[in-house]
């Protein structure tokens, strides 16, 4: 199909160009009337209506959906924010976490009291934030720190408060202190000389405890005894450096939910507010030592991600380029397509599926008998015996054999069916040859006579 945009009507076009100043109406007239235009003659300017809506019309028409989508988005965002604030647990004992498990209350009170609180996420940050007279709070919930890091931490600050120390922390900071299990005491009171504990008087019962060997170390002080050798607060003084390490096994004492109960606030404020600088240290993954080969992200150059983003955008643009339709689809009603031979094919499959050999062969036989009758010229209404006799006489074969092929034989297998079908065809061909050769002139004459009377075309099927 050759689509030929022609600009060969140069004269017409140039005239059209000249006439453009007077309006397009004149240019229409130069070509003549147009079937669909309806505006023959050059009077009124021809107007083609545009099916595509303008951007403004499109927005106006779809404004409801745009606004609806916007509303849904706003509602979704607001819902997420509201539910997120009320539900999210956040990190336990995080200084900026207002949830029940967080410790924002404690941190804010300390700040109001003039303590400089620094929230640290890694040992490096602690190192840079800590001063000579600082307190460090350590809550290593997931045991990120190893022994060396813990030892270094204890050496950094004058006072270190370790919340819920794990085995490694005890090993590194206070090797003599062990775990004391969960206390079942209903109330625990200070009972020691530490001023912070003394002021607190009472502590939240039912938490973890630590044990101190009996008659032990004078450098180790246990407070809030729950039994003879288990305590809810243990303070260890380093013999050489004089640095203090306070161990509080029960983390609940520090969180927003429980800090106001019993003497919790007094204890925690006393432990943490001693100095005017506090480092609130919750170790993160950044504290884990890095091992193994460098990751893929470290090996790739910096421009890889931007290039990937660009190529993604280019792919989207390419999809839009190829996918944008050139105008709307054109609908067309299509005709049904049914082959006339469908019923024949269906019947053939039915025969085959049910192995209807005799029925199939009989259909072939009836057709063959009719053709044979026509060939030997015995007429349409001849009896079967007449046809058999004539065919046997013309072909010179035994009437019994002809009769067997045409009537008697019953196929018991597909092989027999095929043999009989072949025999039928052979009989028809033999008869045809015999008639053609003029062995029986009478039959040939009869056949030719019948042909003369009603010439049947090759495809005619009127027997």
């Amino acid at each position: 199909m050759s689509v030929t945009p022609t600009t060969d009507a140069a004269a017409r076009d140039s005239r059209a160009g000249n006439g453009a100043a007077d309006g397009t109406g004149g240019t229409v007239g130069t070509v003549g009337t147009v079937g669909t235009a309806g505006s023959s003659g050059g009077g009124a300017p021809f107007v083609t209506t545009v099916a595509t809506p303008t951007l403004r019309a499109f927005l106006r028409r779809s404004s409801f959906w745009v606004i609806a989508a916007g509303c849904v988005m706003v509602i979704a965002i607001v819902t997420a924010l509201v539910s997120g604030a009320s539900n999210a647990a956040g990190r336990a004992l995080a200084g900026d976490n207002p949830a029940p498990a967080g410790s924002m209350a404690l941190v804010e009170v300390l700040r109001q009291q003039g303590v400089t609180v620094t929230l640290a996420g890694s040992l490096a940050e602690v190192r840079s934030a800590v001063g000579a007279n600082s307190t460090v709070l350590l809550y290593d919930e997931n045991s990120y720190l190893d022994g060396d890091q813990l030892a270094e931490l204890a050496d950094l600050a004058a006072r270190t408060v370790v919340v819920a120390p794990d085995f490694l922390a005890l090993q590194a900071l206070a090797p003599t202190v062990g775990f004391g299990g969960v206390s079942d005491a209903s109330s625990i009171s200070a009972g020691c000389s530490l001023p912070a504990a003394d002021r607190a008087e009472e502590l939240l019962p039912g938490g973890d405890t630590l044990s101190i060997p009996l008659g032990g170390d004078p450098l180790v002080t246990g407070c809030f005894a729950t039994s003879t050798d288990t305590f809810s607060l243990v303070q260890v003084e380093n013999a050489t450096t004089g640095r203090l390490v306070s161990l509080v096994p029960d983390a609940r004492v520090f969180n927003n939910e429980n800090v106001t109960g019993y003497g919790n606030a007094a204890l925690t404020l006393g432990l943490l507010g001693d100095s005017d600088s506090l480092v609130w240290y919750l170790p993160t993954l950044a504290d884990l030592p890095r091992t193994g080969p460098p990751s893929l992200a470290e090996l790739t150059p910096g421009w890889v991600t931007p290039v990937a983003v660009l190529l993604l955008l280019v792919a989207v643009a390419a999809a839009f380029w190829r996918g944008r339709r050139f105008g709307p689809l054109v609908a067309e009603n299509l005709p049904v397509t049914v082959k006339a031979s469908e019923t024949m094919e269906g019947r053939a499959r039915l025969y085959a599926r049910s192995n209807a050999r005799l029925r199939a062969l009989d259909a072939l036989r009836i057709g063959a008998v009719q053709r044979l009758a026509r060939a030997v010229g015995v007429g349409r209404l001849a009896q079967l015996e007449e046809v058999i006799g004539s065919v046997a006489q013309i072909t010179g074969s035994a009437p019994n054999e002809v009769r067997r092929v045409l009537v008697d034989a019953i196929p018991h297998s597909d092989a027999q069916l095929m043999a009989l079908s072949d025999a039928l065809q052979a009989l028809e061909q033999a008869t045809g040859r015999a008639v053609m050769a003029g062995i029986v002139p009478a039959a040939a004459a009869a056949a030719s006579a019948s042909r003369e009377f009603s010439p049947p075309p090759a495809e005619r099927m009127d027997p």
Binding site: T36, F46, L310
Partner: protein
Amino acid sequence: MTFSGRFVLFAALGVVPIVVFGPNALAATGVLLIWLVFVLVLGGLDLALAASPRAVTVERMLPARVRLGESITSELYLTNTGRRRLVGVVRDAWQPSAGAGRNRSRVAIPPGERRLVSLTLTPFRRGERRVEQVTVRTRGPLGLWNRQATLNAPGRIRVLPPFHARRHLPSRIARLKELDGRTSVMVRGPGTEFDSLREYVRGDDVRSIDWRATARRNDVMVRTWRPERDRRVVILLDTGRTSAARVNNEPRLDTAFEAALLLAALTSVAGDRVDFLAFDRRVRGRLQGASGAGLLSQMVDSMAMIDPELIEMDWAAVPGQLRSITSQHALVVVLTSIDAAGASTGLLSVLPQLTKRHTVVVASVLDPATVLAAATRGGRDEIYRAAAAERALLDVARVSAAIRQLGADVVTASPAQLPPALADRYIALKAAGRL
């Protein structure tokens, strides 16, 4: 709005500055953002500078008709009424079967001027082919972003039946002419008309000597006869569900059209009157009282819009329809399909009413595939196919015999052979004076 391939390629070129100027991730991201803004600004600028496709007026010039299989040229005049030079692509949204091909034409129209876009259409389906819209896509000076709009520009062409059978017409007209003055055969045939007297020449049938005229003229005179004229022929087309079936990848209905057209052409040459009726449960097409040159074109025109309906033919209404066309004796040619006896009950039940009044010929397409299948006996499956085909042929033969018994005539042939076979039957009937 659309993008062009050039824009996509241009956007992809941003990889180069990102790699060159972006040694680390932050710089690369910055370069990426700058590049994206640059590309978008350039595209927007291009879009803003493109000519408006809405400022195009479209006019169409179309021939009203085309024969199936022939080509026509559709002319589309595009006038740029905007102020910018319009460069772009035009798509004329023809229905697929109008045969418009890929149908994308590049145009460049200066402001205020007009260009012709011609498109060759080769419809491959009969009926009315429509076009409703023209889509214009204009590109900006850089060819990055395009503007696109669809304009309403309706048009339609009527695709007529091809009438391939007209190649049989000259030979049949010649045979019709031979009927004129064929005294030897036509003598006193019922329904033949007396034409004139002429002198006896050797070879004339002595039985046609007019002794009274011979006595008057003192010369041996013979009567000559001519075929009867001004008879009525009614062609009845069955447009019911069976006409939708395809034989040789052609619906039965289209074959029937060919046969009807050839018969109508022949009939109008022979001086008979043709009426045409396409019917299933209601009248789909009807042509009465046309003659001469207008007959065929009117007939073809009405046929173009007829499609097979997937409903059963209402044979009981056929006698009434025929009565409304003619009250005289007529040759009624019924173009339908002869299938199994069960499917032909309707036809067989009304045939006595028709044959009582009219001479009836029932014409039907015979599937050559069936005849071929009946003779193919390769393997097991083919034998069963042959048996089924033989069975189908026997059914046709039985129905044909029943139709003959009811006094009608039957013509069955393959799609290519049916029109001439029907024409031959008409000539034979005319020669026999049975019209």
